[in-house]
Subunit: 470 residues, 2 copies
């Protein structure tokens, strides 16, 4: 089984990046509840036949969809080791808790966070954002929100973030009971960074209207274009105005691992809470994100809830330094720390920095190819590792260009060539290439450019002919 | 590596259930951030030396602490397979999404939930409770809470649950912005089940005081004693009073898999939302819980948040039937469905039912042993698979008995014999044995009884002598 998986990873380049599942396979995945046992070998055979050939594709060297990482062989083996020991890392005194404590110390070290900061490994950036904003809500509230609830707050609490901020922030304010209306979406400048003047104006207007601005979300890499907000300016503003400074660095925070890129995300180490993912730009298997919080007491107060059956002891199994369950929603917590611990030991932080720099160089390479190709058009500045562009051709109106580019995208996916995805920027469809893939090479991007141009030309011609006929 | 893990599991009975980590091992787990690469073999050796020998112990046949499941070999291998493919199961069109859809259909089938219900695999019961209560909050609110926030609600929203309810419900109301004060903790009867008359009185009093009662949490197995609330009565009450009926069936819901036990959890299939875990009483590796929701639109409305970069397509990678990310907080979601899919195929639902019945029979056996042993005292009725008892001896006051039982517990853990934990019931320390362990045998419980009696006698004698001296 392990050998087959290693071979599967070694040969991934030879297979399509993605392929649609045939209907008969989908049908094979619909079956009544199994009542009786079957041999493990037969079950594995089902997996090989129905599941393994139809991946999302993100382990393929030409997958650049959304921001989805790749995974490594030792990462996958770590998951098996973790599940064999199968601890609950909610707390108690055992090795897994010490491993997570060690991993969190390394995360603080990587991102220049103070040693006293608390932290937690979580499922990913969405929950990391939720945790950071929950602590911020409670810490800055004018009442004891955890106990008394938001209706007891004298003023409406408001949060600020650029219009390019990830939708998990919207989900967080909704879940937290603040309501999506409480999130003020501030316009961006030409580089898709938050407009600082507009931000200041929005905060002042809310104060004048009797609201209670409590926090700002800064982006260290927006999901659409990779834009990085002016984090030092946001840190200054938050300090001056007593606001919680949360940084969503889902993938971008890790640019700090590259000495050459470190300066671009400077300022995030001043955040009150910082969210980032290891399953994105550190190439580890899903799920593992992290949140760091500068104020451990506020973090603990937000998530602790005493229970008799969770009583601590000075000795025995129920001792242990940190009960991680008191720093997030989960009481049962898997051993996600192990893959981080093993992967960081295997590769070392400097190699991650080099791979991250390599992805940024690939984004630069792709950007230059686009700029040199008259039929292609860059749709946003390439700030880091995300490239947004489109086929432009000539003589097509905007709506036709949207349709054309969407069709180019689908064709390239369906042919199994590559998986970029799309987004809309200022109302227009853009092909979007997000590079958090340690298997990609420069020729992969050259191939993409060639395919987009060739297919764009053909589709433009077809559309022009249809237009002429119509 | 796989062979060593299989051997590790085969020989688990020969090792201590738990052992304290020596200081030098703890020190080995504190090291600066690794900067340079090391061979994978050396990293694995670190794991074997520093981590593997110091487990929480829950894979041992005599671990009955908290409610922590065991895991199986195919479960662990499934995690490796999942991490090799490494999909993001947030959405899109690939096999993992279809596998999760299939697993959710099986969960509905197992627990008699309607086919139309929505569902989601989550990290565990805490998040399953959070999701269910979030949907309930939004569905029953008198304003659009997701959009406008709780401060816009005309009346204070209140939730009802017995005082034995899991602390994750307390954490949920706090996170949701309702505040812990919004959770009305209703007293229990002599069997630790919610007192229905007190519940009705509490709801009526809140209505009279201008509050807005919006939901009730029923327990299908409380964590302290395994007590099961009168679920049909709660379902009737909720229907009559237009309240959201959430059932926390973290482990107890799965009693439905045993035909002999099914009747005890009857009524939960009428819940608006039902939370349960597969990593507890289905012996699967962490993490995997599930929430089922009777009202798919309400579920979807609570967690959806449109984003341009998540646009759907009719074809290509971004097609796909269900975007699971719109039914919970996570956008990045691991392939936890695979271990469930493979495990259910391997064992079949009926075998799970037999194993669950076996654990209940073991709890019955232990209870009878306690009842037949004059120095032991049952501290709560054994409703299902949890047994609470203590060493009583003679001539010791209550405070001394508390100290004695706590010391008995620590000694048994530290000797590596077994891992029960403790709780407090009506103010008194109880030893607590929660049996969700498919490796336990009857003689394991006999051994525990013998150890508690022997150590209790010795400690009682020591304490009596110390008292006589003092």
């Amino acid at each position: 089984m392990v050998d087959e998986m290693v071979t599967y990873l070694e040969t991934v380049r030879d297979r399509p990046a993605w392929q649609a599942m045939p209907d008969e396979v989908k049908a094979g995945l619909r079956a009544p509840l199994p009542l009786e046992p079957r041999p493990a070998e037969a079950v594995y055979e089902d997996f090989r036949r129905l599941v393994l050939p139809y991946p999302l594709g993100n382990i393929h060297p030409r997958f650049w969809g959304w921001v989805i990482g790749t995974g490594t062989p030792l990462g996958a083996l770590s998951e098996m080791l973790a599940a064999t020991m199968n601890p609950n890392v909610g707390g108690a005194d055992h090795a897994a808790c010490h491993v997570e404590a060690q991993v969190l110390a390394w995360c603080r070290e990587m991102l220049d966070f103070p040693r006293e900061a608390s932290g937690l490994l979580v499922s990913g950036g969405s929950v990391a954002n939720l945790v950071g904003l929950a602590v911020g809500r409670n810490a800055k509230a004018e009442v004891d929100v955890a106990q008394a609830g938001l209706r007891a707050a004298p003023r409406r609490m408001t949060l600020y973030a650029s219009s390019e901020t990830h939708n998990s922030v919207k989900k967080a304010v909704s879940l937290l009971g603040l309501g999506r209306d409480a999130l003020r979406e501030v316009p961006v400048d030409g580089d898709f960074r938050v407009d600082l003047a507009a931000l200041r104006t929005a905060i002042a207007a809310d104060r004048a209207a009797g609201c209670h601005p409590f926090g700002v979300v800064g982006n260290a890499g927006t999901v659409n274009t990779g834009a990085i907000d002016d984090l030092p300016a946001l840190a200054d503003l938050c300090r001056a105005q007593n606001l919680w400074f949360h940084v969503d660095g889902a993938f971008g925070a890790l640019a700090a691992l590259s000495p050459a890129l470190r300066e671009r995300v400077r300022g995030m180490e001043r955040a009150d809470s910082l969210a980032f993912d290891l399953h994105k730009w550190m190439y580890m298997p899903f799920e593992v994100g992290c949140v760091l919080v500068r104020h451990p007491e506020a973090h603990h107060a937000t998530f602790t809830a005493p229970a008799e059956y969770l009583a601590r002891a000075e000795r025995g199994t129920a001792a242990g330094p940190t009960w991680f369950s008191e720093y997030g929603m989960q009481l049962s917590r898997g051993f996600r720390a192990l893959k981080v611990w093993m992967s960081l030991k295997e590769h070392g932080a400097r190699r991650y920095g080099r791979l991250i720099a390599q992805n940024v160089a690939q984004a630069r390479h792709l950007t230059e190819r686009i700029e040199r190709t008259p039929e292609l058009e860059l749709m946003a500045p390439t700030a880091l590792n995300i490239v947004c562009f489109r086929f432009r051709g000539e003589g097509l109106d905007e709506a036709s260009l949207d349709r054309l580019n969407q069709e180019v995208l689908l064709e390239i996916q369906e042919a199994g060539i590559a998986v970029p995805t799309s987004t809309k920027l200022r109302g227009r469809v853009a092909l979007r290439v997000a590079i958090v893939n340690h298997r990609s090479r420069r020729e992969d991007f050259d191939l993409l450019v060639g395919e987009v141009v060739a297919r764009g030309r053909r589709l433009a011609q077809t559309m022009a002919q249809a237009g002429a006929r119509g």
